[in-house]
């Protein structure tokens, strides 16, 4: 409104004097919006498609690639541009819904920081080259006539599935290598190992809606679970009448914790003991049968009497008794685990103890069922984890890798400092990074191949977690590529394969041609009685391909949980919680302004990092809200403003994942801190998975006097006595309104 004499007050005065008539005549005044004639170009079609009507949207089905949950999307396309993404109602994963990360897919696509041309390292610096030059460099280093010992080539990827995974495996096979490392920061590697050992399959199906109680040891159902939208939907149904009871055990309140009926902050790392204590209550006080458990385990449970559990976990006895009572009275129930329980030194044991509760409570076959035999094992998800990165780093360090391809990962950002990854990467002579953005890993690459966005690419996906109805999810381009010199993953893989096995792959003009042939090869009993062409068209139209799976049942074999006592550390008294939230995820979305702008669901902080601490702890340390504090582990320190909240264990300090990028475009670079950097080299003893929640830290006021305002949405935690939402205590309610 600058340059205009009407401010709000004058506008209201005008309104008051003359009413609507005067106000409307004000509408003829020159506006601050310039709609100058002849400044904008309006380009017509040369030859329009028949179905195109300018100004009207056409919808295409595809698959979201913002995390590995594989939600189906509908993209609204107008005048050849995708404008909006919504959930695909045909997909059983998200049934028409889409989370904020999915909605932001268009920002990953239209992002101004996308790489538009390949880059090759020449004389120490990355310079833009043509695809021909990039391909020549690839052929020179990895082609069949190159001097490469194929067994020394490796792929480090995020979770991959579908036909891209098939081509990737084919490329490794063509190289004669078995080095496929998969890496995801937010994973459930420990839980899948327990599932495998206990239930005989990596990922059974969880029926949240069939449960009357859900006891969640850190499973962030409505946030960063393995399938965020799916479990949010399940949670909503579970909480509608008849309302299920949700009990959440975690060191730092997640959005799920904030919605729970009972939120319990057990001492970090003691969740398994709490599970044993609840088991003991169930067997001893509520007469549940422990017959399905091995004798040793029964004895072990018996040793965790409630008083001992109170002492170890710090959870009030009344709460333990109450949780056991609710579980015993309401059947079936469901016990789930999440990162805050899994990612500890003895995470495997804790998860085993928690999952054992499902056996005692008779939930197997009711709320936990087998996911059956997926008929196309080659298409199923290759799940990423942290230990994949560890193995990669180790092998790189030993000089076992000569050529490395990176896709869907940014290890230079996600690797903890103790891993010394940068140095180890230097031992790999030729590093090829396939990416849309110039991130920390691209910065250290020898060749950067610019990828087409997820909305410009072909693909098929089989997510790691599939609900009851099994599907293959279809990805198709929603519009023409924005930049000519970007290529889809499938196309890059095909060109790599043509360099190794031209005779086998020359026949495929592009990845689309490969997919068409692969679809034709799907056995007809999976095609619902339609021909190849119609099957393909249906896949494009609906975005999902229903898959029949052979049924199985689960016969659980409970594992004896051996829970060692928690070690105290006087110098580093706090546990670091590298908390994840549905937004920046593991940092991959820090370059999307919508997600930077979307407040954290608990702290409401935007565009930055913070350190979350219990007000009592903050008071003890003499630090105040908004002041900079230093969080220091044996590996290093980070500083961020303090945010106090009672939804955190007094012995825990949370720093959110996602910020602290040194590269990754204008929106991400140089903003906040990355807690992954200061993780200690602690791993889960059984699985070898790094214990993300197992790092001990000390906290103090930062040694500098910088005041930087932490930007928060909302601002006040209290109603400042205004009674906006009136409340009374349960006691008063029961006395005055209750039965």
């Amino acid at each position: 409104m600058s340059g205009n004499d009407i401010n709000r007050r004058n506008f209201l005065k005008v309104m008051g004097w003359g009413g609507a008539g005067v106000a409307l005549s004000g509408c003829d005044m020159p506006t601050t919006v310039t709609l100058e004639e002849g400044k904008e170009t309006v380009v017509s079609y040369i030859m329009p498609e028949e179905y195109v009507i300018p100004g009207q949207g056409v919808y295409f089905a595809s698959t979201c690639q913002q995390c590995s949950a594989g939600c189906g999307v509908h993209g609204r396309v107008r005048e050849g541009r995708v404008l909006k993404l919504e959930g695909n109602t045909e997909s059983p994963i998200n049934t028409g819904k889409l989370c904020q990360m999915g909605q932001s897919g268009v920002q990953a696509h239209y992002n101004p920081d996308r790489i538009q041309k390949p880059m090759l390292r020449k004389g120490g610096a990355l310079v833009e080259v043509t695809w021909e030059e990039a391909a020549a460099a690839l052929a020179d280093k990895t082609g069949k006539d190159s001097s490469l010992n194929g067994g020394r080539a490796a792929w480090l990827t995020g979770t991959v599935s579908g036909h891209q995974s098939v081509l990737l495996q084919a490329h490794l096979e063509a190289l004669g290598s078995s080095r496929h490392y998969t890496h995801e920061v937010i994973n459930n590697a420990v839980a899948t190992q327990v599932n495998q050992d206990m239930f005989g399959e990596v990922q059974p199906t969880y029926h949240v809606t069939k449960a009357k109680v859900v006891l969640s040891f850190g499973a962030d159902l409505v946030g960063t679970s393995m399938s965020p939208v799916h479990f949010s939907r399940e949670h909503t149904k579970f909480r509608s009448a008849p309302r299920g009871v949700l009990i959440q055990v975690e060191p730092k309140m997640t959005l799920t914790g904030g919605n729970a009926d009972l939120w319990i902050a057990a001492k970090p790392g003691s969740e398994g003991v709490l599970a044993m204590g609840i088991a003991n209550e169930l067997l001893a006080k509520h007469g549940l049968s422990g017959d399905a458990l091995p004798g040793g385990l029964r004895d072990s449970i018996a040793s965790y009497n409630t008083d001992k559990v109170v002492e170890i976990t710090g959870v009030a006895k009344t709460k333990i008794v109450e949780v056991a009572k609710v579980l015993a009275e309401r059947s079936p129930s469901l016990v789930l685990t999440g990162a805050s329980t899994e990612a500890h030194e003895h995470g495997y044991q804790s998860v085993a103890a928690a999952m054992m509760l499902n056996v005692i409570l008779g939930n197997i076959g009711k709320t936990i069922t087998s996911s059956g035999e997926f008929p196309f094992p080659q298409l199923t998800a290759k799940r990423g984890d942290m230990k994949g990165l560890l193995a990669f780093a180790e092998h790189a360090d030993k000089g076992e890798i000569d050529v490395a391809f990176f896709y869907g990962v940014n290890p230079v950002y996600t690797a903890p400092k103790f891993l010394n990854l940068e140095q180890k990467l230097d031992k790999i002579p030729f590093k090829v990074v396939l990416t849309q953005f110039y991130d920390e890993t691209a910065n250290r690459a020898d060749l950067v191949l610019p990828l087409a966005s997820a909305l410009e690419d072909w693909g098929t996906h089989v997510p790691g977690y599939l609900p009851e109805d099994k599907i293959i999810s279809m990805q198709q381009p929603l519009m023409e590529k924005l930049y000519k010199e970007t290529h889809g993953l499938g196309d890059v893989l095909l060109s790599l394969l043509k360099m190794r096995k031209p005779e086998e792959y020359e026949g495929f003009a592009d990845y689309y041609a490969f997919l068409r042939e692969a679809f034709a090869a799907i056995p007809s009993d999976h095609k619902g009685g339609v021909g190849d062409e119609k099957f393909w068209m249906q896949a494009l139209q609906f975005g999902v391909i229903p898959v029949n799976v052979a049924e199985r049942s689960i016969k659980p074999t409970p594992i004896e949980a051996d829970l060692p006592a928690l070690k105290e550390d006087i110098s580093y008294p706090f546990y670091l919680v590298p908390s994840a939230h549905l937004g920046l995820w593991d940092g991959r979305h820090a370059n999307l302004p919508w997600l930077q702008e979307a407040p954290d669901q608990i702290s409401k902080v935007v565009w930055g990092s913070w350190v979350e601490m219990h007000p009592k702890t903050a008071a003890r340390l003499g630090v105040e809200n908004g002041e900079f504090v230093r969080v220091e582990s044996m590996q290093g320190s980070i500083e961020a403003p303090l945010y106090t909240h009672r939804g955190i264990h007094p012995n825990a300090v949370a720093v959110p994942l996602g910020q602290g990028h040194e590269e990754y475009g204008r929106y991400a670079k140089g903003r906040g801190v990355n807690p992954l950097k200061i993780l200690n080299p602690v791993t889960d003893e059984k699985t070898g998975e790094p214990a993300l929640y197992g790092t001990r830290v000390q906290v103090a006021k930062a040694p500098f006097d910088e005041k930087q305002k932490m930007v928060r949405f909302g601002g006040s935690e209290t109603q400042v006595g205004r009674k906006l939402v009136a409340s009374i205590t349960a006691d008063v309610f029961n006395r005055t309104e209750g039965a």
Binding site: L24, G38, T41, S44, Y45, I46, G55
Partner: protein
């Protein structure tokens, strides 16, 4: 009677010689043509728009006036969408591979067509992004669902907001198309007055 007509003719001639803009104001007065659209009150007000040079000086007069081509023949999306649409180049070439191929303008058009490009037309009429305007609804109200109105006379409805385009070569903005303009017309014609009808 005859004398009076002559005087009016002379007067109009003087005005047209004097100021094109003034003529536009004059033409906007109801009763000089569009009042014939039944069940409608033509919007008032004028705007002295800029001359907008186009890549090809498209003669609206030749098409719409001399050759009597219906506006919706080229702006075919007007009845089906928010936007009226600039005709696809293929539509121009539908006629101009045969008609008037020797004219400079057509030669230029053919050049665009053969190099697989569309002429980079400049936008003349626009409303801000926070205004939802749809051609479809307006054409329905004043043309297709308007009793006593004939599709052949669509140009009279277009002229409500675009002026006498068939008298122009390249289009020029002669109506302000601001909120006051829209509101007055909505009031006169009993159009919706909810804020969110236009600001959604």
């Amino acid at each position: 009677m005859k004398r009076y007509s002559n005087r009016l003719y002379e007067g109009l001639k003087r005005i047209s010689l004097g100021s094109a803009a003034l003529l536009v104001v004059f033409a906007a007065v109801p009763g000089t043509g569009w009042a014939e659209v039944p069940n409608a009150v033509a919007p008032k007000g004028a705007h002295a728009g800029d001359d907008v040079p186009q890549p090809i000086e498209f003669p609206h007069d030749v098409h719409a006036k001399i050759n009597q081509i219906n506006c919706m023949y080229c702006h075919t999306y007007a009845r089906r969408s928010k936007v009226a649409g600039i005709p696809p180049t293929s539509k121009c070439m539908g006629c101009h591979t045969i008609i008037a191929t020797d004219k400079e303008r057509i030669k230029k058009l053919t050049e665009y067509w053969e190099s697989n490009q569309s002429p980079p037309w400049k936008k003349v009429h626009d409303v801000p992004d926070y205004v939802h305007f749809t051609h479809e609804k307006h054409l329905d109200r004043f043309l297709f669902s308007n009793e006593g109105m004939d599709v052949e006379r669509v140009s009279e409805v277009c002229a409500f907001c675009h002026g006498e385009v068939k008298e122009m070569t390249v289009a020029k903005k002669v109506k302000s198309l601001n909120m006051g303009f829209c509101r007055r017309c909505h009031e006169a014609n009993d159009g919706p007055s909810d804020c969110w009808k236009c600001h959604k």
